[in-house]
Subunit: 507 residues, 2 copies
């Protein structure tokens, strides 16, 4: 290998330019690229495979918790969007609007014709079009709870976009449910937040803080918005998903009414909840290092890559057969319910080049096999959570359980490392606005270094105070579900306060 | 059960009004419904689950044949569509066009604002936007073949729509590949047609005829279009999917060039291939009867429904526990790689009502368990391919293998029945245009009965002759890949002809 510990595979490093480092990690891992369509990305095979693993893990849990998948139209009539006043206000400024349904040539140029009587909005979220369907599906308390989920693409026209984190088109799942009373609907919104926590922590190895959004950060049309927030390595918060208790706002707007058990008539109590391809952005920024992506094994498309050393042509065939045998043996073992998956890299490239490529792609284990390994019935195993040059020789006999144990260990180590980082940069000792300001102000204004973190502090709950935070470029990320119950003084106003809140810069 | 053999669960019957029967089967099985958005459907959970099974089976084969999934933008810049002349001509008349990116209030009304510099087309198919990406990805022969697939929604604005068969928005997979030479690209297009045949015949139990489209029916921009055609129960043909050899048409339009192995420079040879949610329409019209949907077990969301007989309240708990035990036992057996899946219908409804509901939903097996069955450690099993009243008592000991065998038998019987129907209504003895006309003319013009079928006959290959078929409301569905090699006279012109062609009415 030509590179040593002092150079890094990704340039710039996180410290040098975090934002550019992020783009370079994506490029080096070949996850996605910008498309010629403003704000839209192309998700490349390696990135898409990660999304499939996230989708499948979450879909399983969504079904296990009693939900059924369905599919609703891409288009939302403008009049539907208008039915919930806060909702339309929240999305009007970022809508892709379809106004015509054909193209015709005029003066040698194709122009849109066939104007629609009513413009159609590409769904930015589907509460309205699904609410309309639910008004037909829900008639009686016997029809409740109605528990539906959809996997779909949505569009929110964004002016400033970044791969995975903020794109005009993105992919997500959106759950939409109707319940007979408030308690059940609230329980649903909280249950799905817990499902998301499991997904984030157990699969993506991303430690998260569960909380409720303050009024200013609520979903347009929601009574309560719950979220989970993760700390990225630049110490900014990333909201990775939300779950909303919508009360009767949408059921009143769309007339979702039902005969109650005791002979009355009531509007349904609804929820909605979603996570998006943004999770891949969270994954990248939580685990990657200056050598590139690091994938938690549970969401790694390949658990390991096998790199055959083919420098002795006379032994190439038997080395390749040996690699195939190891791949096949490992596939008969599982890690977390999935067969251990290896890719054999047979390309005509130098071993060092291949090795670094797979480091950058974040594959958890690299298994090198050459003639000598074959003679010893062994292989050289390198872990992505160790130094690039660190390798261990392992006998191939009974390799499966050893590899499975390593994968479990890597999964655990990524979570532990991220949790440690989050805890180290979460301050609970900051109590005044001046301290808050100092904490979130970089030392070098021209070229801000990585700074700040999470501040857990008291807040008086007055929505008007949130505006003051904008000057510091921070916001209340959430009011953690785990509240201490203690009293103190509001970090913004100094008034008596009991609410615990997380303050941070954010994506 | 209140219904007897002489009444049917679906009204009208196929013979009475085929088109309305189709709508009623969908409604009774709760598969999908029309949405308030013109031409767009809502796919309901039972319909969606069928799509998931189709998708998963096909996705597995697409991956096994070396393809990788990726995801490309929903939007196609108008200028991209224009780059391939035939392509834009083919789709210009049915495009949803995005012209604005926000909504603003004016005189109390929301109107589209923020006009886009260049209109964006919602993808009707993605050759253009993917071709653009491929031009960046393909540089050298080492990058080939490039084998990509995408699962996505597409929009083709349709004036006359029918659930699943023709909708403005539909779901599909679209494969897009680039090869270093014509032979490899042609091989790819044919290979994927064969994958589709397997999907149709082995999973959906739909017998199909593989063939090539005549020039008039080709995909806009293709050199050759291959297809598979199935016969519905009204004897019309349904094109269920296509595979195209695109030659260098799109690689020249999008500059997909590569350094050849021998030091030259060439444009790539591309293919594309896709199947859509239309397959569900084919499934419905191939297998359903006058009692509703019949699902081939391999694409049935539940293999069986267990209906507990709860008319003796004092024994209800033990009957339910017995039902649960049967469900659990069966889940430990597999049918075609999937655990045997049962749904227990515990709703507070009469048994007969439940029974008929599941008949209409097409579930392959209905398992009734009551106190007497429990005492005998048995259950009553009814098959969807037998008369509604026919039931067999089976011991629950070792039930799994018996159920698996029944499922295999049903799958086989549906295919055999559909194949018999197709063969019975495929004529090879029609040789003149007058006979052709007579065959495709209903006896009762006011209320046409089910008539016609497939006619396998000779065609001279002159594209100009195809226009004459329009008068008979028929077309050349395909030129079967299996050509007899014999000579004869063209059924349209009477001229000498060697090409075998299938003539039929179609969806």
């Amino acid at each position: 290998m030509s590179q040593t510990q002092t150079t890094t595979a990704i340039k710039p490093t996180r410290q040098e330019d975090y934002s550019e480092w992020y783009q370079q990690v994506i490029k080096a891992a070949d996850l996605a690229e910008n498309s010629p369509v403003r704000g839209c990305m192309v998700i490349k095979p390696w990135g898409w495979s990660i999304w499939e693993l996230i989708r499948d893990a979450l879909d399983k849990r969504i079904k296990e918790t009693g939900h059924q998948n369905a599919y609703f139209p891409l288009f939302i009539p403008l009049s539907f969007l208008e039915k919930e006043a806060q909702h339309v206000q929240g999305f009007a400024k970022e809508c892709a609007v379809v106004t015509h349904h054909r193209l015709e040539e005029k003066d040698g140029k194709l122009i849109p014709t066939g104007q629609l009587e009513e413009p159609l909005i590409i769904r930015p979220t589907s509460e309205t079009i699904i609410g309309d369907a639910f008004s037909r599906w829900v008639k009686s308390w016997r029809d409740l709870p109605l528990l539906i989920n959809q996997w779909a693409n949505v569009v929110r026209w964004e002016l400033r976009t970044r791969l995975f984190l903020r794109t005009s088109e993105f992919l997500w799942q959106e759950g939409h449910t109707v319940h007979a009373n408030e308690a059940e609907a609230r329980e649903e919104a909280e249950k799905m937040l817990e499902v998301y926590r499991e997904l984030a922590e157990d699969h993506l190895a991303i430690p998260v803080i569960l909380g409720e959004k303050s009024e200013g950060e609520r979903f347009p049309g929601a009574v309560n918005t719950y979220c989970f927030e993760a700390m990225m390595q630049d110490r900014k918060a990333l909201q990775a998903g939300t779950s909303h208790y919508l009360g009767q706002n949408f059921s009143k707007a769309f007339d979702i009414r039902f005969d109650t058990k005791d002979g009355g008539l009531d509007y349904g109590y609804t929820t909605s909840w979603g996570v998006t391809t943004r999770l891949i952005g969270a994954l990248i920024m939580t685990h990657s290092d200056d050598d590139g992506l690091r994938l938690p094994p549970r969401v790694a498309p390949s658990h390991a890559v096998i790199i055959p050393v083919l420098n002795k042509p006379e032994r190439a065939a038997e080395v390749l057969a040996y690699a195939e045998k190891i791949k096949k043996d490992l596939a008969s073992y599982t890690y977390e319910g999935r067969p251990i998956t290896c890719h054999i890299d047979v390309r005509d490239l130098r071993g060092g080049e291949k090795n670094w490529e797979w480091i950058k792609k974040g594959v958890p284990l690299r298994i090198e096999v050459g003639p000598r390994d074959l003679d010893n019935q062994a292989c050289m195993v390198a872990r992505r959570d160790k130094a690039p040059s660190e390798k261990t020789s392992l006998p191939t006999e009974n390799l499966g359980p050893q590899i499975a144990a390593m994968l479990a260990d890597i999964q655990k180590s990524y979570f532990a490392q991220a949790l440690k980082y989050q805890q180290e940069h979460t301050r609970t000792d900051i109590t005044t606005f001046d301290e808050l300001k100092a904490f979130f102000t970089p030392k070098n204004a021209d070229k801000p270094e990585i700074h700040g973190g999470f501040v857990l502090a008291k807040w008086c709950g007055d929505a008007a105070t949130e505006a003051q935070l904008a000057d510091l470029k921070i916001s209340i990320r959430c009011l953690p579900l785990k509240q201490s119950g203690t009293s103190g003084t509001c970090i913004i106003t100094g008034r008596p306060a009991t609410i615990d809140a997380i303050f941070a810069k954010s994506y």
